[in-house]
């Protein structure tokens, strides 16, 4: 067990370090001068220049030598001091992120789990039945070919404009006050459904196509031919193929996490759903670089934690990995 996690852990730590370094280097070494453009924007506001100067010297420490700046950046990350948002002054970036990350999780977790289950099962059916395959496959191709944001626009068009079933924009109606009441929860869920549903559909096609190909591959293997010769039912053959095909699908989940997060940024933009991705884009529009950096760091943390969870799940469902660590094999 130690070796399996040890190796993964090194990659994660390394990834995190690189991400932080990129985050630190981007404003310093990219062409263009973000600090100057910020000063230009806020220079004419009373006290604006001082605020930015103190803000920047606090987080960036621009007057210090470069190595010290770098170490200082790390220190500020571990103390959770990510600076103050310029756009929604004076709330700290950390507080904005804390409230935003919840929206990411309630969209991401259910959509990944549900699309994974439904997609794999539909893919298995498609792999076994030629008739179902003929109309399911083009549909899956369509789902996995469409640009994420374009797909979200279609979902808005169909469910919100044509049928008028769900509202679009924000996490709840602007007239509502967030509290624990029946009306608020219904309103919240109605706003939640379309972003969730878009994310669900976006991921569905990929899982289904992957599982279909795995089932086709398993069906051509000797053991399933032998089972067929023994006269076992289609369902039994499918179940065996499904168990073998599910493992690459779990690894696939880890590989596609980066794509899923990218899709979420776009979907949040279409729905103005106030998760990390939306905050990130708002930060760019308002040139709020502290918020941008904070969002990036937390998206990385989100991805790494999810990866770690997938690793654990993989270990639990793959008998080879599981048994080799309890030394039964």
């Amino acid at each position: 067990m130690g070796k399996y996690f040890g190796k993964k852990f090194i990659v994660y730590v390394f990834t995190f370090a690189v991400a932080i370094t990129i985050n630190w280097a981007a404003p310093r070494f990219m062409p263009g001068d973000p600090i100057q453009s910020l000063l230009n924007r806020f220079g004419n506001i009373e006290g604006g220049t001082e605020i930015i100067h103190s803000n920047f010297s606090q987080l960036f420490g621009l007057d210090k030598p470069i190595l010290q700046q770098y170490l200082g950046f790390w220190k500020s990350i571990f103390t959770g001091d990510l600076g103050i948002s310029i756009h929604s002054f004076p709330s700290p970036v950390f507080d904005i992120i804390k409230s935003a990350i919840l929206y990411d999780i309630i969209i991401m977790v259910p959509s990944i789990i549900l699309s994974w289950i439904v997609g794999n099962n539909l893919g298995a059916i498609s792999g076994m039945k030629k008739k179902a395959d003929n109309f399911l496959m083009p549909f899956f191709y369509f789902l996995s070919s469409a640009p994420y944001f374009w797909f979200a626009v279609i979902v808005v068009f169909v469910f919100s404009v044509q049928f008028g079933l769900f509202p679009v924009g924000g996490a709840y109606s602007s007239t509502m006050i967030p509290r624990f009441s029946f009306n608020f929860i219904v309103d919240f869920l109605r706003h939640w459904f379309l972003p969730f549903f878009s994310m669900f559909l976006i991921q569905l096609g990929g899982w289904a196509i992957g599982m279909r190909n795995m089932i086709l591959y398993e069906r051509s293997s000797n053991y399933s031919k032998y089972m067929k010769a023994l006269g076992s039912s289609e369902k039994l053959i499918r179940n065996y193929g499904f168990r073998n095909g599910i493992l690459p699908q779990v690894t696939g989940l880890a590989l596609r996490l980066s794509n899923i997060i990218g899709g979420m940024v776009m979907v949040q933009m279409v729905f103005s759903y106030p998760g990390l991705g939306y905050q990130m884009l708002q930060a760019i529009m308002n040139q709020d670089y502290f918020l941008l950096q904070g969002c990036f760091i937390f998206i990385i943390i989100l991805v790494l934690v999810s990866n770690f969870i997938i690793d654990i799940v993989y270990m639990l469902i793959d008998p080879r990995v599981r048994l080799s660590y309890s030394e039964e094999v």
């Binding site: 990834t15 062409p31 973000p34 070919s145 279609i154 590989l255 997060i261 884009l281 990036f296």
Partner: protein, 289 residues
Amino acid sequence: MSILKKVLKNNENLYYAFSNKKVIFGLVIFSAVILLAIIGPMITPYGYEEYAGVGYQSPSKDHFFGTTLFGQDVFTRTVHGLRMTLKVGFFAGSIAAILGCVIGFISGYYSGTLLDEGLMMITNLFLTLPTIPLIVTLTAFMEYRGMFILSLLVGVTNWPWVARAVRSQTLAIKNTEYVNLSKISSVSVFKIIRQDVAANMFSYVFMVFIILFQGTILAAVGLEFLGLGPTRGISLGLVIRTAVNWNAVELGMWWWAILPGAVLTIMIISLYFVNTGLDQVFNPRLREM
């Protein structure tokens, strides 16, 4: 015509490729979209920012894709934008393919060494990093974004899975007898990789490139939609971005937001068809089905 037949007869793979219905179907649609991107901007009488007629018009004979709120022709905008998006996707795909192949070959050929470990570490790192937020963070600090720098960014973030796929294929080929023979004959590593390894993976790499192209186009159009596309000119993502920003769908102008994306989606689906068709061509076992 007779030359074509001769070429087809001499090359088995090409022959099967051009007798596969899926490949032909996919290629026809793919070429149609490419043609649209090439010829489209020449045949439309309007400029993409130009006032072309009354705004808020649904698709008609004069305006194939209707007009925007401000009376611009959506078709003109789409074909101009398509051009830019395809260019970015193509350059990015090429960069990613070259990077992925080179790293995959080297890592696979020197498998088990420290070099391989290091390269795979970097590959895994790039696989874990969420690419869209990464590019967003980088481009946010640029005041000017050209087509080339965008292609570079998209290309540099999309190669890792290619490297892994190529590496595993290289591992399989590496221990064959003809590679060993080349090694004994002290043929240079570069030549072994080029003549023995790469030559045998050509069909595989070609298919990888198709999938890669799909991915980089989608990434490019996504960035454009987020407002981080090329700062000059128009791109497909930008067309849809303006439409969404002006609530086109809520105003009932579905043609403005949905038709431009449909063109791109159709093209990517056609590439799927080419890919599954080619899969049958290159893996004879799949042909019977």
